[in-house]
């Protein structure tokens, strides 16, 4: 269309004006965009930089190597071994079942555990690593690696796993590690993030559990750059984990092994201590079990066979078992009497076989009575009547106070699980717990270690050490932690006159070396190796008057769990004590026949540092002892002599 000059100029002016307005609007928008850019990129740059780092950087924890546990000579008791595992991440795997099926053809894996791992994997977030199988052989491990292209999401990995080379011998001392349970997290309140990593194991029992914080070490960190799918693109930085502290126990592996073997299949326990230092050389509890089972994951059948066993293999009887100490308590009563000045060592008490208290008779173990007994005789022949008479003079308060001074009824907190405290009864205790008044009969029962009084084998060993040294020995289980000494170097005097202790020691010497002593059969014939001790036979049932009339049923005729406990405490060498021992055989029968020979053998093994020579035994026993030695399944000497790798 043809336009006039004026029209064309108007049009051009209008367009110019409008395009200027539009341009201005565009410039304004550009300004807003630039301002927004500046706000995001300059003012909030640090915030976004942080978010970007959170996006791309993942911190993986590197598990620390657990501290090793050695015996007193550097023998390795708990080691970390390489564990070949197969780990799977289901993220980015299209057909999980097909992959698992292929894996089951490559390695030997049972379907039940594979299904368990599969369910675990499906229940967790897609990027979580789940262990499908562990403890693979090298061949299996290698074949998984070779078949990697056919197994998406699966990686073979090498980890560390706890192993206990001496198995059952140390189950009750070293304990075991196991997986972190919800209960563990709740009960310990432990918030260490390494606990959240799958397959991490923590100490669950005994030293492993109680020294957990020292043994665990500190997790390292691995900073990796990941993409949006969580796949690692490269490693950015690494902070090495700090291994846990190594631990050296006071235990002597050879002695521990011998003690476990000597207890055999009895339901029994034994403690061997160094009297001067309180160092515990052996803490044997039988039957035992293989702690490695718990590390690998114990099957239901295996576990129920342990819990259903009437001999209670899972119990550490040395510290958890509480028994009436029986006649091994008589030294306490005697010392209380001497200290109170209510009896002289040479003063005699006549035993007619029983004491009458009101209408009730308290019997001596020997029906016909012992006749006239002084203190040494009272100990060596274990005359109950002597102590019945003596305790009526002394009273329960003095007896209880002496018992505590000797370490009974006191919790000796070794780093073990379930350490129990014995019971030394008092008037107040009985009123509060039994709701009845203390009667003299209770004092009589307590004086011979029956009735309410309870002690653990560890307490009895401590008592024996204190009697042997006259000092307040405390048991020690840890020698060094990370090379630093953990023992107490000196112990205060127990504050009992030496003359009193000498009478007691003479009595304990007579028990095993005097022809009429209750444990004469368990004497040592090698000069300088003689042992001293005290037998104990504690009843677990009441003998009624009617039964006593008809004749007490012999132990062998009773069901196992009604039989007497057999006890023995002792030390050796008698003239220069170095080792103390306590032995409790549950429902084993008589202390002299059952417990004393075990105690003798343990003391001899401790003194000789190897299998004792037959010359140490009375001639009549040598053939049996030789046979016993031949039948014992002991660690070979070359293993015991090869010391481990103690870190300085």
């Amino acid at each position: 269309m043809k336009r006039s000059q004026k029209e064309a100029e108007d049009s051009a002016r209008k367009i110019t004006r409008r395009s200027m307005i539009m341009g201005g609007f565009m410039l304004l928008t550009g300004g807003i965009l630039a301002a927004r850019m500046r706000y995001l990129q300059v003012e909030r740059a640090d915030d976004f930089r942080l978010l970007a780092e959170e996006n791309r950087i993942r911190i993986d924890l590197l598990p620390p190597a657990r501290g090793l546990i050695y015996d007193r000579y550097g023998q390795l008791l708990a080691d970390n071994e390489q564990n070949y595992t197969v780990v799977m991440v289901r993220e980015n795997v299209e057909d999980v079942d097909a992959v698992l099926d292929r894996l089951s053809h490559i390695i030997n894996i049972d379907m039940a555990s594979l299904n368990r791992a599969r369910e675990d994997m499906m229940a967790r977030a897609p990027h979580v690593r789940v262990t499908l199988a562990d403890r693979l052989s090298w061949d299996e491990f290698a074949s998984v690696a070779v078949n990697a292209p056919a197994l998406p999401g699966i990686t073979p990995e090498v980890g560390l796993s706890r192993v206990y080379p001496f198995g059952a011998d140390f189950a009750h001392v070293v304990g075991y590690v196991g997986p972190v349970s919800d209960y563990y997290l709740e009960s310990t309140g432990d918030t260490d993030p390494i606990l959240q990593t799958p397959d991490f194991q923590v100490g669950r029992y005994a030293v492993e559990a109680r020294m957990e914080q020292d043994l665990r070490g500190e997790a390292g960190n691995l900073w990796v750059e990941v993409n949006s799918a969580g796949r690692v693109m490269r490693e950015l930085d690494r902070e090495a984990p700090v291994p846990g502290d190594d631990l050296q126990l006071t235990i002597d592996t050879g002695l521990q092994n011998y003690a476990q073997a000597r207890l055999g299949n009895e339901s029994a326990s034994a403690v061997v201590m160094e009297v001067e230092t309180g160092e515990v050389l052996a803490l044997a509890s039988s039957p035992s079990y293989d702690p490695n089972l718990f590390v690998r994951g114990i099957s239901v059948a295996e576990y129920s066979s342990l819990t259903e066993n009437p001999y209670r293999p899972l119990a550490s009887k040395t510290v958890q078992g509480l028994y009436p100490p029986g006649s091994t308590f008589k030294m306490v009563t005697a010392l209380a009497g001497l200290e109170a000045g209510l009896i002289e060592p040479e003063e005699t008490i006549t035993c007619n076989g029983f004491v009458e208290l009101g209408t009730r008779r308290f019997h001596c173990w020997r029906r016909g009575g012992h006749g006239r007994m002084n203190m040494v005789d009272g100990l060596s022949q274990s005359c109950d009547v002597y102590y019945y008479e003596l305790s009526q003079r002394v009273g329960i308060e003095r007896i209880a106070a002496m018992a505590r001074r000797l370490g009974l009824g006191v919790r000796h907190d070794l780093p073990l699980s379930g350490v129990a405290s014995g019971l030394i009864p008092s008037r107040e205790w009985k009123l509060a717990n039994r709701g009845s008044e203390w009667v003299v009969g209770d004092t009589l029962n307590t004086s011979i270690g029956q009735g309410l009084v309870l002690s653990s084998p560890l307490e009895l060993a401590v008592m024996t050490s204190r009697l042997a040294t006259g000092r307040q020995i405390l048991p020690q289980l840890v020698r060094t932690l990370n090379g630093v000494n953990q023992r107490v170097d000196s112990f205060a005097e127990v504050d009992i006159p030496a003359a009193h202790l000498d009478v007691i020691r003479q009595g304990m010497w007579s028990v095993t070396n005097f022809r009429r002593g209750t444990a004469f059969g368990a004497r040592v014939t090698e000069e300088g190796y003689e042992i001293a001790g005290k037998t104990g036979t504690s009843q677990v049932r009441n003998i009624t008057a009617a039964e006593r009339e008809a004749g007490v049923t012999a132990n062998e005729d009773l069901p196992w769990d009604r039989r007497d406990h057999a006890l023995f405490v002792g030390y050796a060498p008698a003239d220069n004590p170095r080792y103390a021992v306590s032995v409790v055989v549950e429902h084993g029968g008589g202390g002299s026949a059952v417990a004393a020979p075990i105690a003798r053998d343990l003391l001899l093994r401790a003194m000789y540092g190897e299998l004792p020579p037959l010359s140490a035994y009375p001639v009549g026993l040598r053939r049996d002892i030789e046979e016993m030695h031949d039948n014992m399944d002991l660690l070979p000497l070359e293993i015991l002599r090869s010391t481990g790798r103690v870190r300085a």
């Binding site: 049009s11 307005i21 565009m26 995001l40 915030d47 930089r49 970007a52 996006n55 949006s228 693109m233």
Partner: protein, 379 residues
């Protein structure tokens, strides 16, 4: 002065046209395209494939197309604008019935050698037809209601066809691009004020009615709006794009992490980084300096185009140039505002930088129109 009056006497012919090209504009366009090549190379992890190489070929093709369009007299384009508009409408309808479904939307027709996106073409043909319309229309009638309704219809028909593909972004570009031509042609501002006011009223009504018995949108639609307004409320769902985009942008800082060093893009945290979200990648690797420079280049292109529009005294040339300018502006402004969280995520690429065939080709052809206006302007 109409084109008939200077056709023969003032226009350059033959090779002399090359001298009359707006070379500054060509250099600026090439510079922006090079930024695109660089970023596509980086997004691919330091590789010409799969994006940077093809993009270069397309740019070369685009440059050629621009030259062809530029050397063709501008009045030719005026004469064929109605034809082009009709053709693009037919193609849009074809897409509606025979198009290939891609990314959940019917957008292109497979021509064998390339995929044609008619909606891209439509953006320019609408501008051309509107410019021709106002060139034809008596200037005094421009603001009369009947003559306002005609261009509104010209805009709304293809905008609606694009919207139902569905391609909200392109529909918006057609709508606003067309409106810009109407504005520059001198339509009374009261019309625009009325449209803006009623749009504002609708938005207010939508929000005011929320939670009441007569609310205007469904609940899920409100939630989408919420996500836009506060992306962090749904960081792994709909807000993911925009959250990651802002992280990429923000973490660039002043000077950026360096070429090929962007962690957001290396770690695949930023989806669609080769198309709609290429700007955050640039911002992450080259920082505020790089991002602002690109914005500067864009603004310079606008400046040169507007100057061309003012210099050409011919109404068609001016309006078509301004329409192309407005469309180009809308492209990058919406894209940048979108990745910076200023407007909702609508699929609009960053012009000349984002990977995409038809968009690049059509845009270069559109700049060809600007060049043609420049070459054939009266002197």
């Amino acid at each position: 002065m109409s084109y008939l009056e200077y056709t023969q006497k003032a226009t350059p012919t033959g090779l002399r046209k090359v001298l009359y090209l707006n070379w500054a504009l060509i250099i600026l366009l090439t510079a922006v395209a090079c930024v695109g090549f660089l970023m596509l190379y980086s997004v691919a992890g330091g590789s010409m494939r799969p994006w940077a190489g093809p993009q270069m070929q397309r740019f070369t093709l685009g440059l050629t197309a621009m030259m062809i369009v530029a050397f063709t007299p501008i009045w030719f384009w005026r004469n064929v604008s109605a034809l082009a508009y009709g053709l693009s409408l037919i193609l849009l309808l074809l897409v509606e019935f025979f198009g290939t479904v891609g990314m959940g939307a019917q957008r292109w027709i497979d021509l064998g050698f390339m995929r044609l996106q008619p909606s891209e073409l439509t953006k320019i043909t609408v501008v051309m037809l509107l410019a021709a319309y106002y060139d034809w229309l008596d200037i005094r009638k421009v603001s009369r209601p009947l003559f306002v309704l005609i261009p509104v219809a010209i805009i709304l028909v293809p905008a609606f066809l694009t919207f139902i593909q569905p391609d909200l972004g392109t529909a918006l570009l057609i709508l606003v691009g067309g409106a810009a031509v109407m504005f520059c042609a001198g339509v009374h501002w009261a019309y625009f004020a009325a449209v803006i006011a009623s749009a504002g009223g609708i938005v207010t009504a939508v929000f005011a009615s929320r939670g009441t018995a007569w609310q205007l949108l469904q609940d899920y639609q409100y939630r989408r709006i919420d996500t836009f307004l506060d992306p962090s409320s749904d960081p792994l769902g709909a807000g993911y794009h925009i959250t990651q985009s802002q992280i990429a942008l923000g973490s660039g800082g002043w000077t950026g992490r360096g070429f090929m060093q962007g962690t957001q893009i290396r770690g695949d945290f930023l989806p669609e980084a080769q198309t709609d979200f290429i700007f955050p990648t640039l911002a992450e690797e080259f920082g505020f300096v790089g991002a602002a420079s690109l914005l500067g280049l864009y603004l310079l292109i606008l400046l040169f185009c507007i100057v061309t529009a003012i210099q050409t005294k011919d109404r068609f040339s001016s309006l078509v140039t301004l329409g192309v300018t407005a469309t180009f502006f809308l492209y990058f402004a919406i894209n940048m505002a979108m990745v910076m969280g200023l407007v909702p995520v609508v699929g609009v690429p960053l012009p000349l930088v984002s990977y995409g065939g038809s968009a690049m080709l059509v845009l270069m052809a559109a700049f060809g129109l600007v060049q043609s206006a420049h070459v054939h302007r009266p002197r």
